[in-house]
Symmetry: C2
Subunit: 210 residues, 2 copies
């Protein structure tokens, strides 16, 4: 019996190269969860095999910009000439249905989400050491030294935003990191600030005994 | 890899009759934990078979009152003419060793602990309904109606302190309640406020790469 029925908005973020995607995948592979993705909206062209509303919601640049003006995105960004964003209305629908909506996003997007939804759960994934992250960033092997240098510089900046997050989870082993996130989700549901309203309903239900 | 090595002071409390002791027992029966009890100090006479420092630390009334004056208790109370209290120094030793110290105490004691150790984890155990608690309080069968009436009245007052706690855990099934508390303990270790110092050490350890 959970005292908070509404789903949580869980933001998984962290420095570039830390393995956010792998952790998120391990989380979704766990049994008995109620996690769901949020489908992003984009202005990039639909590709063969893709379906509107499955990989992305595909919209025109005009529509996207109109939605930005109306504040209809949780967060958005431009990437290689195209917009990408998380539609607020879709996320809210899922939360009302009691689903935990997991967003795996870059640091900048995460901080936008925190501003729009202050009661979201902000999780910062970190490597077991800085060296570990540098090793990952350089071992991909296919990129030029200049690109690697830029990435390391970006990661070093991103390391500094940790205090803006609610939790810091070390990605030492992917399964440990996923376990920790699941524990955080369970604990957050039990937080007094989230559960006190339903608790009052619960203890109010037999007022005739007072 | 945990970013917070220090143990947590976990306070399990809730209205009289809610089953705090049963939940605490189920918690300690779980595998792979690092939980420990705190041994209370008392002025009551040692009984045959008891050992000083095992069931209780047995001290004289004078010594106990001297310790109260010196602020050496996390919480204390008088019960049927004897003092009972939680010695602060013993708890701190255990926390420094990385153990999670679990206190299962009455509401009044719990609120004393919160004042002395603001970063303790306050968990309020509640019944699935008020009626459920009334049923428990009356079904013990051995007490007079007057005593039962007093207990119900006490529980009704205790229900109202929930907002002073960090978490509200429903004791619907004992094993569920214990699971939730274990998740809370894991999550609390990952909280940014508890883990940021070690995180800074971690990302500072390779400063030569910056």
């Amino acid at each position: 019996m959970k005292l908070n029925d509404k789903g949580l908005l869980v933001v998984i973020s962290g420095p570039s190269g830390v393995g956010k995607g792998t952790v998120r995948k391990a989380l979704f592979d766990m049994p008995n969860h109620n996690l769901t993705y949020s489908i992003s909206m984009t202005t990039r062209k639909i590709r063969p095999g893709e379906k509107d509303g499955r990989e992305y919601y595909f919209v025109s640049k005009e529509e996207f910009e109109d939605r930005i003006k109306k504040g209809l995105f949780l967060e958005h960004a431009e990437f290689v000439g195209n917009y990408y964003g998380t539609p607020l209305d879709k996320v809210n629908e899922q939360l009302e249905e009691g689903k935990e909506v997991v967003l795996e996003i870059e640091v900048n997007g995460a901080l936008q989400v925190k501003e729009k939804v202050p009661d979201c759960v902000m999780i910062f994934i970190v490597p077991p050491s800085k060296q570990d992250l540098y090793d990952r960033l350089t071992s991909r092997g296919t990129e030029s030294e200049e690109i690697i240098r830029q990435r390391v510089e970006k990661a070093n900046k991103e390391f500094k935003v940790a205090p803006k997050y609610d939790y810091i989870v070390v990605n030492d082993e992917v399964s440990n990191a996923a376990d920790r996130i699941m524990a955080i989700i369970r604990a957050e549901h039990a937080k007094t600030s989230r559960s006190i309203h339903k608790y009052y309903e619960l203890i109010g239900e037999n007022d005739e005994n007072e």
